[in-house]
């Protein structure tokens, strides 16, 4: 049980969940697990079932797109305090990219199945969670678009 | 530049009056210096000697008006590191582009007794409509000083001082009095690119657009003014249909008055 309490705190302290009330964090902690990846290890593989998302606690993760016959291209790196993964929210719930730990990386994973179960009776929890996803996605979308247009040209 | 091999110059002719390449020979004071600075490798108007490509610089005169020419210009492009078009024919199809507005079959039969001997395209088009062009030198004919400037800029590796602004700027700087304001003479100067040396206004006549449209011209507003000066609609149409009739901005404006 001590782990649960610990997870709860980790969730509360993660910037993504800033402002989330304690009760909700506790609920979420019920779906959470600590995970650890060594440098070079993959957190996520393109095409596989997306049944989690991650809060990065330490380390960094490279999001990579595979390119036929060539080395993958890193489209973004994620670092401490950031989240990884929303394909669990988007049909057909498969990862669209690889995510590789660039060094020893500690994350908190949240199980999608479990979360969905909690949302069913708690629209406020869903609202609170989704509300946080949207700005992150908006920021990543904007970042990607800026990367695409070559703003340093 | 010293010690380097002289760049090879080629001069090509398509459908045209020869006046623009003649401008090079009209550079009497500079011709021999030019000849000393470049290797004249292909210039039929000046020499029967020809040297094989590739060429560092090709000057292209004339428009594309036959199927063979459409092929030939591609070959010229392939052999040319830098390709510069010279004159209204090469940059906008020239006066022969007036055919683009009409039925070319009828043109042929107006002129030739045996139309079946003539092989021509229905249109006369600019070089840039067929191959990439590095720089376009305007004018019907080009101004020889501008031609020298382009050659000079090429040899010195700099940007040519060939402004794309209006003829009016040239008139005003020369102190030439505006014929439109002071005499009511319709003048294309405000929509025409500078470069001729404000010839027509300094002869008290309106500019007739030899140098083609300036950057971002506003012919619709100018045409409205022509109307206020008493110019009839058909004349407004015709004034844009001369040596740069096929230049998009002039073409559109003339079509507005059909």
């Amino acid at each position: 049980m001590s782990t649960k309490i610990g997870l709860d705190r980790l969730i509360r302290e993660h910037p993504f969940f800033q402002g989330m009330d304690a009760e909700a964090c506790e609920t979420l902690a019920g779906c959470a697990a600590n995970e650890r990846f060594n440098g070079g290890e993959y957190l996520i593989r393109q095409g596989e079932a997306a049944n989690k998302f991650y809060l990065i606690r330490h380390g960094s993760v490279a999001q990579e797109l595979r390119v036929p016959d060539r080395e993958s291209i890193i489209v973004q790196t994620l670092h401490e305090g950031e989240i990884l993964g929303w394909s669990w929210l988007v049909s057909p719930y498969r990862w669209t990219m690889d995510a590789r730990a660039m060094q020893l990386t500690r994350v908190l994973s949240l199980d999608a199945e479990c979360l969905r179960g909690k949302f069913a009776n708690d629209p406020t929890l869903a609202y609170e969670l989704f509300k946080r996803f949207i700005p992150v996605m908006a920021s990543r979308l904007q970042t990607s678009r800026l990367q695409l247009i070559d703003i340093y040209g | 530049m010293a010690g380097k091999r002289k760049p090879k110059l080629a001069v090509w002719k398509f459908s045209s009056c020869d006046g623009c390449q003649l401008s090079l020979l009209d550079c009497e004071d500079e011709l021999l210096t030019v000849a000393a600075s470049v290797e004249i490798a292909y210039f039929l108007e000046a020499t029967r000697a020809t040297i094989k490509g590739p060429y560092a610089l090709s000057l292209v005169e004339g428009s594309i008006s036959t199927p063979e020419d459409a092929e030939r210009i591609r070959a010229v492009r392939r052999q040319s590191k830098v390709l510069i078009t010279i004159g209204a024919c090469a940059t906008s199809g020239g006066i022969q582009a007036l055919r683009n507005f009409q039925d070319v079959e009828q043109f042929i039969s107006t002129v030739y007794a045996r139309p079946e001997f003539i092989d021509t395209l229905a249109t006369s088009t600019a070089i840039a409509e067929h191959v990439p062009v590095d720089f376009e030198l305007r004018g019907c004919p080009i101004d020889k000083h501008q031609l020298l400037e382009v050659l000079n800029a090429f040899l010195n590796g700099r940007k040519p001082n060939v402004p794309r602004h209006s003829q009016c700027i040239e008139c005003k700087q020369a102190g030439t009095v505006c014929v439109m304001v002071a005499r009511g003479t319709p003048c294309l100067g405000p929509v025409t690119q500078a470069g001729c040396g404000n010839l027509c206004p300094s002869c008290n006549r309106g500019c007739y657009g030899c140098f083609g449209p300036k950057e971002t011209p506003n012919p619709a507003s100018l045409s409205a003014r022509f109307g206020e000066l008493g110019m009839a609609q058909p004349a407004v149409k015709q004034i844009y249909r001369l040596f740069n009739a096929h230049a998009p901005e002039f073409q559109q404006e003339s079509q507005r008055h059909e």
Binding site: - | D18, E28, T47, R48, I95, T110, A113, P141, N204
Partner: protein
Amino acid sequence: MSKQTRTIKVDALARVEGEGALHVRIKDGVVKDVKFRIFEPPRFFEAFLQGRLYSEAPDITARICGICPIAYMMGASQAMEDALGMAVTGPLRDLRRLIYCGEWIESHVLHAYLLHAPDFLGFEDAIRLSQHHPGVVEKALQLKKLGNRILEVIGGRAVHPVNLRVGGFYRTPRKDAIRALIGPLQWAVEASLDTVKLVGGFDFPDYHYDYTCVSLHHPDEYPITQGRLISNRGLDIAIDEFSNHIIEQHVAHSNALQGHLQGSDCYLVGPIARYNNNFEQLSDLARQAAGEAGLGRVCDNPFQSIVVRAVETLYACEEALRLAENYEEPDAPYVEPTVQAGIGHGCTEAPRGICYHRYQLDENGRILEATIVPPTSQNQLQIERDLWGVVEKNLDLPEDRLKWRCEQTIRNYDPCISCATHFLRLTVERE
């Protein structure tokens, strides 16, 4: 898809004499066929002149030729003046003659030195010539520049001048501008005298032809802007009878129409024709220089056209000098035309020979029909005839020499810069 078959059509296009090719067929050492082919793409001037205003014709027709735009502008202007029942006389006429002299000087010097002389001296071009004879070429360029300067002072620019119009000029030059030409023209008279001497000393291939020479003739002056059409075979007509005597024909191998003289299969226009028909009108100095350069009263060797051109250059310099010295600013730059329906003819002596215009106007001054007959189309048949003769005489020459000789033969005519010069593809078929 031939719409109608008309063998005679005067309603014809004025071509820029342009890109040319030569085809000679020789069988068993006998010339079977010679074709001088003009493949300059057609540009349809006569067609798009239809519907334009009379006043636009000089500027539009100028674009037929970049080397002799004055010939076209002047021919068109005078034809329009004829149609509108007016005439330009006095100082304005003199000014026209002066600018035309500029064109003769510019065109003749260009041809003589830059295009033709290298043939006689065995150089590929004037630039190579200049490496061996720098002084000659530099002087030639200065002379040519003076011709252009006359065009610029009166016309605004050398190629496609802007200042000429039906009725005269848009703006007449200031007296001081014209007077400034006097000094250089005095030099030019001397320089062109030297030219006559120089080219008179060239080696001329032995070839003679009994030409039918057609030119203008004017009782008071060497013909440039005006006159009657005459020939050395008795033709003597006003220019409005031109089309009754000369027909144009379209042949398969040429984009240019060929001119024929009624009653004679081919004829010659240009410097030799002018010279032969108007020797007496030349200045004393010019006649004397011609004689000293080995020209007779009549020239029958087309290779000597370079000498005739030099003589005409001398004359044009003298004439320009006289006109410049007498220049006074006219009261008005032009005679105001009165628009009316009509038909008009204009014919002037372009550097290469007579250039004829005919226009029909409606009552608003719009062009209903236009005909322009440039000198080159008139000379085309004669060029082929000369080629035939020259090839026959030189069958033993190696191919490259024969080719060069053929080119030189064409260049005798200065038919147009691009074909007169060096765009000749010679195919010799030996069967």
